[in-house]
């Protein structure tokens, strides 16, 4: 049920779905345990019922209704029936044609076996065969033409990005010359302009990052903003320099221009794969200035000796409404993840989800209480352009300053380092001893994700 609530785009969908869970709405409800599929036909207002299919393994779904909400109420209702009255589904010997069609078309979101990835890329057998057939008939000249065109496009992109970074360099110099006080005051306009130029010149990812600088600055007190501006712009300088030295580096290309596709990551033999038990620490949903919503889900590896994190990142248009990737904070599951290649691998994809794991405490990580940011600093040594870094804090507590702002402080060193917290915290949290706290450190603020306490696990995201 938790998963269904998390998947629902909004409360109204959930409410509508609950009304559709009556058996009478579903003339057909079938399942295939072998394939991990459930499907059904839901009688809507039209003459033909809507056809709904859900993959119970990775919560992939398809419905023939015209709703622009994803998942729609019919999908949610089907999942609901499966969760509450699984006996309603009749075991089917074979899958209907429309289910087969969907299976063939879909790109698996979580349970793509790695072995089948190279070449196939999640396509159906039919599509894969078609590709093979076309490969046979394609002549060598055509292949050469296509590859040449690809090389030219790549070269054009690289040239454009290089020119974009030249403009960025000049823009940064201009900001220093004009004064960071003015930059801080007008960061919205100034960042918007250079971001637009960078988009034109194919440095799209960098443009998105620059677009977010104003909101990052505005989240701080005015006296902190100049230092934050130095950090933001300085990191851009470092990132631009790194790209120029190795423009083919996957991590740098991802940060500057475009990210590789899911299939490319899965097919990349250099991508690290980790099979472990993962806990969903929390999520962060932000509407960006470019109209996209970024949905970050942070995971913690429960089998690693030192804290290892993974980030599942999803983007979708704000107009599509709220979406979720079906993970609820506190969930624990056994899964294999593949990490996007990087100096500090963090972003990942779930390759195979094997099942849920019962809750228990976090493992006892060895903490450096003298400097809770030590792990963060170590990461910046190799990737100084990093922004929000997940960290695991040693035993500590949340305290308030005279202004009522919250700070995290280590229990072992009450007069030592204290880290300011970005958001207002629940007053209850002020009375809890935190055995360990997972948070994102932005360089100036902590964004709490979750913590372990004498009262058990705390959801803080």
């Amino acid at each position: 049920m938790k998963t269904i609530e998390a998947l629902a785009p909004d409360q109204a969908s959930l409410s509508s779905a609950s009304k559709l869970t009556r058996q009478s709405n579903w003339p057909r409800l079938e399942k295939s345990e072998q394939l991990g599929l459930i499907w059904g036909e839901c009688q809507g207002s039209g003459s033909n019922p809507y056809r709904v299919v859900v993959d119970t393994g990775d919560h992939g779904y398809k419905c023939t209704c015209p709703s622009r909400k994803f998942p729609c109420k019919h999908t949610l209702a089907l999942m609901w029936i499966a969760a509450t009255t699984p006996a309603s589904f009749v075991a089917a010997d074979s899958t209907p044609e429309w289910v087969n069609d969907w299976l063939g078309r879909r790109r698996k979101t979580t349970s793509q076996p790695a072995a089948s990835v190279p070449g196939a890329g999640g396509k159906s057998i039919g599509e894969a065969l078609r590709d093979d057939e076309s490969a046979v008939v394609e002549d060598a000249a055509a292949i050469e033409r296509r590859e040449a065109a690809q090389r030219k496009r790549a070269q054009d992109t690289r040239s454009a990005v290089s020119a974009a970074l030249d403009e960025l360099d000049q823009w940064i110099s201009d900001q220093l010359r004009l004064g960071l006080a003015g930059f801080v005051d007008n960061s919205s306009d100034r960042c918007r302009r250079i971001a637009a130029r960078l988009v034109d010149m194919k440095a799209t990812a960098l443009a998105g990052r620059i677009d977010e600088i104003p909101s990052r600055l505005m989240g701080l007190r005015s006296e902190e903003r100049p230092d934050a501006a130095i950090r933001e712009l300085g990191k851009l300088v470092l990132l631009a320099k790194a790209w120029r030295s190795t423009p083919d580096d996957a991590e740098l290309r991802r940060l500057v221009s475009t990210s590789e596709s899911r299939e490319q990551v899965l097919a990349n033999s250099d991508a690290i794969q980790v099979e472990s038990v993962w806990e969903v620490l929390g999520e962060k949903i932000e509407t960006r200035r470019d109209g996209l919503v970024s949905h970050s889900t942070w995971l913690l590896d429960l089998k690693s000796a030192s804290p290892r994190f993974a980030l599942l990142l999803d983007y979708f248009p704000a107009s599509a409404g709220r979406r979720s990737n079906a993970f609820t904070p506190g969930d624990r599951f056994d899964a294999r993840l593949v990490f996007y290649p990087a100096r500090q691998p963090l972003r990942a994809l779930v390759v195979e989800r094997k099942g849920d794991v019962l809750s228990r405490e976090w493992p006892d990580f060895g903490f450096d209480a003298a400097d809770p940011l030590a792990s963060h600093v170590a990461k910046l040594d190799t990737a100084p352009w990093l922004t929000d870094c997940p960290i695991m804090l040693p035993p500590g507590a949340i305290l308030l300053d005279d202004r009522g702002d919250a700070w995290w402080q280590s229990a072992d060193d009450p007069h030592g380092i204290a880290l300011p917290i970005a958001d207002t915290v629940s007053p209850t949290l002020l009375g809890l001893d935190l055995a360990a706290t997972a948070a994102l450190w932005s360089g100036s603020r902590l964004h709490l994700l979750a913590a372990q306490s004498g009262f058990g696990r705390l959801d803080l995201s």
């Binding site: 049920m1 938790k2 959930l14 779905a17 609950s18 009304k19 869970t21 009556r22 009478s24 609901w80 029936i81 509450t84 009255t85 360099d169 000049q170 940064i172 110099s173 220093l176 010359r177 004009l178 004064g179 960071l180 006080a181 003015g182 100049p226 230092d227 130095i230 950090r231 933001e232 712009l233 300085g234 990191k235 300088v237 470092l238 809750s359 940011l373 600093v377 910046l380 040594d381 100084p384 507590a397 305290l399 308030l400 300053d401 005279d402 700070w407 402080q409 204290a418 209850t428 949290l429 002020l430 009375g431 809890l432 001893d433 360089g443 100036s444 009262f455 058990g456 696990r457 705390l458």
Partner: protein, 475 residues
């Protein structure tokens, strides 16, 4: 980062804030890295170094005045198991108001668990939560210091060592077991407390109220707080002590109230006295009568008519005016003796039908057996099912499946669920919520299955409390 670099960084920073080149201000080691490039590139290199230095070498300056709150106390009961927290949160989310939420809390406490503090916390002013939450209420009230809230017996010596809610809880326990000791404590220590606290302490005297309490309660007639004097008067009235002399003048409120009541006779052979609400001429008079019912005591009113409390209640003509009947019931609940309250409850329940619903106002004064009888009565007569949600002070989780099947409640629920009348469905939702609090875990599970079979969506929010109930198998 050494001191020279820190100073250099600070001056470069100031320079960049106003605008300009900072190369000449940079530490020597940084200059070496930046040198050999054009002026713009030099500044960018220095900016990159400064950014990295700010990130890795500096830490936020912690204010010296960070304040730590005392640790949240652990409660005497175990925390609700983690796996049940989502169901609990769903039930809490659906609970519309504080009263509905307190039912969820009471149900969980009745099964031997407390809630996770991040799911629910009592307010500092909370006086209705189960006693087990007293330490959290005190913590919420922000009473700082090193006072202890041990489970030792409350005495005059350790009175100040208890936080207010913990003290109230200990005192109510003491009042149940040793009322005289508790009274002496209230008498000794209560007089130095502010009126608001004094009022809550004296309110605790309704536990084990007896004739021994009369002298102390009478002494409160000189209390400086009007609310305390009024409360003491009510408690005295429950013990049959008259607040006002029966022969007071026209300014006497009891006399004024009596003037709004018509005394009559009924019966052909055995003529007996009856009391019924007088027909009034204006809404202003009705308002005044309502005020008087709220301030006058039953014992004084009965005396005014020269009868005993049970006689007055027995002669009251219930059914003539619902609003006045409710006012009478409230007056009896507030100031009637225990015997009068039970007499009225038994009489009305025996009569059944709508008059029995007035007993709802007496609920907090009734013993558990009578409360259960009334609830079962309401469940038999489907006409007044809605009244269930009005009942106060009832125990959680005792209503059996047999109680639900012994009447028309289930068929009515099924019909409401299966039908298309939205108003009726809303009524069914409310009833399910009320039953979610009252039924046993086994009955909750059966009830869910029953209404789902009748067509209710298995995920309906109104089943939230029933689901929680069903998942809490016992204390």
């Amino acid at each position: 980062m050494n001191e020279i670099e820190q100073t250099g960084l600070a001056t470069m920073r100031d320079c960049w804030i106003t605008g300009g080149t900072s190369f000449d201000l940079a530490p020597a080691a940084w200059k070496d890295i930046a040198a050999g490039a054009n002026p713009d590139e030099r500044e960018r290199r220095l900016l990159a170094i400064a950014a990295q230095a700010l990130e890795i070498a500096l830490r936020p300056a912690a204010p010296k005045t960070l304040k730590r709150r005392p640790p949240l106390p652990e409660l005497a009961l175990p925390m609700l198991p983690e796996r049940l927290r989502p169901i609990l949160r769903a039930a809490l989310k659906h609970a519309a108001d504080a009263r509905a939420k307190s039912r969820v809390v009471a149900l969980v406490a009745s099964r031997g668990f407390v809630l996770h503090p991040m799911d629910w916390m009592p307010a500092a002013s909370d006086q209705t939560s189960p006693d087990v939450y007293a330490p959290w209420i005190d913590w919420q009230a922000g009473v700082d210091g090193e006072k202890h809230t041990d489970r030792e017996q409350l005495t005059a010596q350790n009175w100040d060592d208890f936080y207010p809610a913990a003290r109230r809880s200990a005192l109510s326990d003491l009042r149940r077991t040793a009322p005289a000791v508790a009274r002496e404590l209230i008498e000794t220590k209560g007089s130095s407390e502010p009126a608001e606290i004094r009022l809550t302490l004296i309110a605790l005297m309704h536990f084990g109220l007896g004739p021994d309490d009369v002298p102390f309660l009478k002494s409160l007639s000189a209390d400086r707080s009007g609310k305390v004097r009024e409360l003491a008067g009510r408690l005295l009235a429950r013990l049959g002590q008259h607040g006002q002399p029966g022969d007071g003048g026209p300014e006497n409120p009891t006399a004024e109230l009596a003037a709004f009541i018509t005394e009559g006779k009924s019966g052909f052979i055995r003529r007996r006295t009856t009391y019924s609400p007088a027909k009034l001429k204006s809404p202003a008079q009705e308002r005044r009568r309502a005020e008087l019912f709220e301030t006058c005591n039953l014992v004084d009113l009965a005396a005014r008519f020269g009868v005993t409390e049970p006689d007055f209640i027995g002669a009251w003509q219930f059914g003539a005016d619902n609003n006045v009947d409710i006012l009478v019931a409230r007056m009896v609940a507030a100031s009637g003796s225990d015997a009068s309250v039970t007499h009225m409850a038994d009489t009305l329940v025996a009569e059944g039908g709508k008059p029995a619903l007035f007993v709802l106002h007496l609920m907090p004064r009734l013993d558990s057996r009578r409360q259960r009888v009334l609830i079962r009565l309401i469940l038999k007569d489907t006409q007044y099912l809605g009244a269930l949600s009005l009942a106060e002070g009832i125990e959680a989780g005792w209503l059996d499946w047999a109680d639900l099947t012994n009447g028309e409640t289930l068929p009515a629920l099924r019909a409401a669920v299966a039908g298309n009348d939205d108003a009726v469905k809303r009524g069914a939702d409310q009833l399910l919520e009320a039953l979610g609090f009252l039924v046993t875990a086994a009955a909750a599970e059966k009830l869910i299955g029953d209404v789902v079979a009748a067509g209710m969506a298995p995920s309906a929010p109104s089943l939230g409390l029933l689901r929680l109930n069903a998942s809490l198998s016992g204390p």
